[in-house]
Every structure is written in structure tokens, then in C-alpha cells.
């Protein structure tokens, strides 16, 4: 099959997957999610098979919709095993419906799906899998590889999310007004998680990782432009812009991480720095509470603005991390604060804080915690401790590998 045609279908698929899904969900209900996804997948495979021979249809999305639609109707008919006259008439009008799917197109399908799946009772890992597959159109294998999980695990997460939708009879619509504030916070966290997975995956398939980041940003921008978005949506967007501005300087050709000190800052993208700044200006006022999202955006901005490690405003970052801990009391925040204190030359404070932390606080970032110890004790000229922490780092690494 010609590569060109294949790629075109793939691109179409990624672009229109959630759109198709949404229209079909509206028609058949969220309980049919599994069947809908299967039908769409079959239609897509049919396209891959047929279009190179029969040519790409003039309305490719319409084609996919029609074929998926028919498959779903047929599967229902098979189940019911009926052929009454009433059913026949119903089928006809359904067919006509299939031809006019543009009239039934759902507005903002991805955001709706996102709000639907960002339910307080659904595990965030399952939410993430659903978002990546159903909303962003990534393949199961890609997802598994980037998240460093087995395909089987991803499969289970997807199954759980579908089951959740069915059992809780989730409605494919915007949340009620009183729920929006809670829900949107979960949406923000979901996008944050998606972005982070793309930004800090530790192996070399750069393209997919950056795609995860860009996908998070695409959905976030959608949110910012939509009336349902709020100030924190903009703060999140700003933060992601600042982070992505530094993306190109972070990895070498082999996909290894280049430390901040050694990064070529000329590779940092001024476009995204300015864009981050734009969004930040839109969501902050001099008065008022500083949210975690805003603070993290400013933190990221400080790094992006700085021309070197030496001229980075570490004292200000210390302030920012203190403020962040106040609204987001998490250990990783403290670990960063330790490093900021080291950089600011406040070694006593750094040591005091570091001693409050424990390796069990850091999950897959244990080695980062150990390296922080190395850094601290090296600066304190304590050779014994430096060796000790280096040994911990190595042992942890060897276990990981």
C-alpha cells in the first residue's frame, strides 16, 4: 500500500477520531462506547484497505461516519434478531441520517469528552489512558511505550474507563454549573499529567513525547478559548508554553537528558516564551490569591527568561517554591526547593530541609532525590556523604535497570 495514502488516512484518523466518536456517542449513548470504538476502528481499517484502490472519497470523514454507523446498526440488529416493518423504516431514516452527519456534528467534541472523563471517582491513570486513546487518537502501543507500561496495562485502564462510563451512566455533555469548578480542576490536572508524561519520559522516542506535550497544549488552548475555561486554564497554558520553549535544548541526539547548566539556551524558543508570557498576563492580577497553577507558570517563566544558570533568580525562586508549597504541600515541591536553596548558596537551609525528606516520598524520582543529596554534600565539601549518596543513586539505578 502506498505510504502516502497510508499516512493520509492515519492523519485523518488522528484528526477526526474523537469527532466521529462524539457524534456516534450522541446517537447511540455512552453505554455503547466499546462498540462505538470498535466500529470506528473497523471503519478506519476498511479505509486503509479500500481507499488506495477505490480512491479517497470526497467526504472522507462522512465516509468513516457512515460506515461506523452502519456497523453499529447492524450489530444491534444482530442482537435483536428482528426484521419488522417498523425496524425497516427506522433503518432507512438512520441511513439518511448517516448521510447527513454534518448536521449532527457535536460542537467541541474533545472538550466534552475530556470533561466527561474527568470524573472525581475515576483514577487519574485511567483518565489519562482514555484521554490519550479516545480524545487524542494515540495508539495503544505508543501510549504504552511512552508511559513505560505494558500494553496489557493500558488495555486494562481503557477497559476500566469504559466500564466506569457505563456503570456510572456518564452523560456526554457539559457538567452542571455547580460541578464545573470541581470538574475543571480535574481537567487541568489531567492535562498537566499528560504534558508531564510527554516532557519527562526517559527514553529516546522524542517525537511521540513532544506530541503528548503538544496535544496537552492543544486541548488546553481549546479550553482557554472556550467560555468554560477559567484563569487557571490560562495559567496552565502559560506554564506549558514556558516548558515547551526549552524543549529543544534538553535532549542530545541519543535522547539523553542534558542538564540545565549545559543546555544550549539559543535553542530555546522565544515564540513560546512570549506566548507563555501572554497567557500569564491574562490570568494574574496584583491582588488576590496565587494559585498553584499561576505560581508554577511564573516558576517556569523564570527559567525561560534567564540567560544562564548564574543569572537565574534563585532567591525569587525560593520565594515562589515556598508559596507553592503553601497551596500544594507535596514532597516534590520541597525537593525542588532544596535545589533552589543550594543554587542560592543557602546551604544550611537546604540541608535542614533535605533532612526532612525521605526516599519513599519520591516514587520513580528516587534517583533525583539521591542526586540532590550528592549535590548538597558536594557543595558542603563532605566527601563521605557525597560518596554515600552517590552509592544510593547508583544502587537505585541498577535496580531500575
Amino acid at each position: 500500500m502506498p505510504q502516502q495514502a497510508h499516512t493520509e488516512v492515519e492523519q485523518l484518523f488522528r484528526r477526526s477520531y474523537s469527532k466521529l466518536l462524539s457524534s456516534l456517542i450522541v446517537r447511540f449513548g455512552t453505554a455503547e462506547m466499546s462498540r462505538i470504538e470498535d466500529a470506528v476502528m473497523e471503519a478506519y481499517l476498511g479505509a486503509l484497505k479500500n481507499w488506495p484502490h477505490e480512491g479517497t472519497p470526497s467526504n472522507p470523514e462522512g465516509w468513516l461516519y457512515k460506515v461506523s454507523f452502519r456497523k453499529l446498526l447492524n450489530s444491534k440488529a444482530l442482537k435483536q434478531n428482528q426484521s419488522s416493518e417498523i425496524d425497516y423504516i427506522a433503518d432507512l431514516s438512520d441511513e439518511q441520517e448517516a448521510d447527513n452527519w454534518d448536521l449532527h456534528e457535536v460542537k467541541d467534541p474533545e472538550l466534552r469528552l475530556l470533561f466527561m472523563i474527568c470524573h472525581p471517582d475515576l483514577k487519574k491513570e485511567d483518565q489519562l489512558a482514555f484521554t490519550l486513546k479516545t480524545i487524542s487518537g494515540f495508539g495503544r502501543k505508543e501510549i504504552a511505550e511512552t508511559l513505560l507500561q505494558s500494553e496489557e496495562t493500558i488495555k486494562k485502564r481503557l477497559a476500566r474507563s469504559r466500564k466506569f462510563i457505563k456503570e456510572n451512566q456518564l452523560v456526554f455533555d457539559w457538567p452542571e454549573k455547580k460541578e464545573i469548578e470541581t470538574r475543571i480542576e480535574i481537567v487541568h490536572k489531567a492535562l498537566y499529567l499528560l504534558f508531564n508524561e510527554g516532557y519527562y519520559s526517559s527514553h529516546a522516542d522524542r517525537k511521540v513525547h513532544k506530541d503528548f506535550c503538544l496535544e496537552a497544549m492543544r486541548l488546553c488552548k481549546y479550553l482557554c478559548d472556550h467560555p468554560i475555561g477559567n484563569a487557571d486554564s490560562k495559567a496552565l497554558m502559560s506554564m506549558m508554553c514556558f516548558h515547551i520553549s526549552r524543549f529543544e535544548g534538553r535532549l542530545d541526539e541519543s535522547g539523553n537528558l542534558i542538564l540545565l547548566r549545559d543546555q544550549d539556551r539559543s535553542k530555546w524558543d522565544p515564540y513560546f516564551i512570549k506566548l507563555g508570557d501572554h497567557y500569564l498576563s491574562q490570568c494574574t492580577t496584583l491582588q488576590g490569591e496565587k494559585t498553584a497553577w499561576q505560581i508554577e507558570a511564573v516558576i517556569s517563566g523564570q527559567h525561560s527568561y534567564a540567560t544562564s544558570i548564574e543569572t537565574t533568580n534563585w532567591d525569587f525562586l525560593e520565594m515562589l517554591y515556598n508559596a507553592l508549597y503553601d497551596v500544594k504541600p507535596e514532597k516534590l515541591v520541597l525537593l525542588n526547593l532544596v535545589l533552589v536553596l543550594i543554587m542560592a548558596g543557602k546551604l544550611g537551609k537546604a540541608k535542614k530541609l533535605f533532612e526532612e525528606l525521605n526516599e519513599n516520598d519520591f516514587g520513580r524520582y528516587k534517583t533525583n532525590y539521591f542526586f540532590t543529596g550528592v549535590e548538597l554534600y558536594k557543595k558542603l565539601s563532605d566527601q563521605f556523604q557525597t560518596d554515600l549518596w552517590m552509592q544510593k543513586a547508583m544502587e537505585n539505578s541498577s535496580q531500575a535497570k
Binding site: 542538564l259 522565544p270 500544594k328 534517583t367 552509592q391 535497570k401
Partner: protein, 108 residues
């Protein structure tokens, strides 16, 4: 990937400086916060309940913990002793030295 239609040329150093100051003003009212000296939320008995461990870390794209020091060593030594012996004349590394360490042990 263009998000907006505007022309985003480079930020001038003056503009950068202005922005930095802006955010410091923004934070001015929080200048007094100095959490760890107050000991707030850092009581020695800070609970670590069994079973919590899995859920403890909310990961985030933090630059300092992940890019100031990095998070992994790739090496193929027979054991720790072997690996340590590879660094005979232990590297005296400054901030950038962690990269050196990685290079020593990054046997591909």
C-alpha cells in the same frame, strides 16, 4: 505549531527584565513566607502511612529536580564494586559534574 497569528519576535533584554520585575511585584505580598524555618508542615513526626506510598507523589514538570541534577545513570558494571572502581580517583565535579559521571558510566 502556531498557536496564534501574531508576530512573536525575540523578547528584548529590557522586556525580559521588565517581566521579571513584574512577577516579583506580583509576589511581593508573599515575601514573608518562609515555611521551613517556621517548621510548618515539616513536623518530625510527619506521617507516612503504610499504603500511602503509591499515591504520595504527584508528579509535575519541575525543572530543578529533573534538570539540575538529572535522574538516572546508565552503566554496565558487574556490580557496584566494579562500578566504583571505574571511578578511581573519584571525580571532583561541580554542578556540571553529574554529566561527567554519566559519561563515565554511560557505556552504550
Amino acid at each position: 505549531m502556531l498557536f496564534m497569528g501574531g508576530d512573536y519576535s525575540e523578547l528584548s533584554p529590557e522586556e525580559v527584565e521588565r517581566r521579571m520585575q513584574l512577577w516579583q511585584v506580583w509576589m511581593a505580598d508573599l515575601r514573608k513566607k518562609d515555611l521551613y524555618l517556621n517548621g510548618r508542615a515539616l513536623q518530625p513526626g510527619a506521617k507516612r502511612v503504610k499504603g500511602d506510598v503509591g499515591d504520595v507523589v504527584t508528579d509535575g514538570p519541575f525543572v530543578e529536580a529533573k534538570e539540575l541534577v538529572g535522574g538516572y545513570i546508565v552503566f554496565k558494571a558487574n556490580d557496584i564494586k566494579h562500578a566504583l572502581s571505574l571511578t578511581d580517583g573519584y571525580p571532583d565535579f561541580d554542578l556540571g559534574g553529574e554529566v561527567e559521571v554519566r559519561e563515565i558510566w554511560n557505556i552504550s
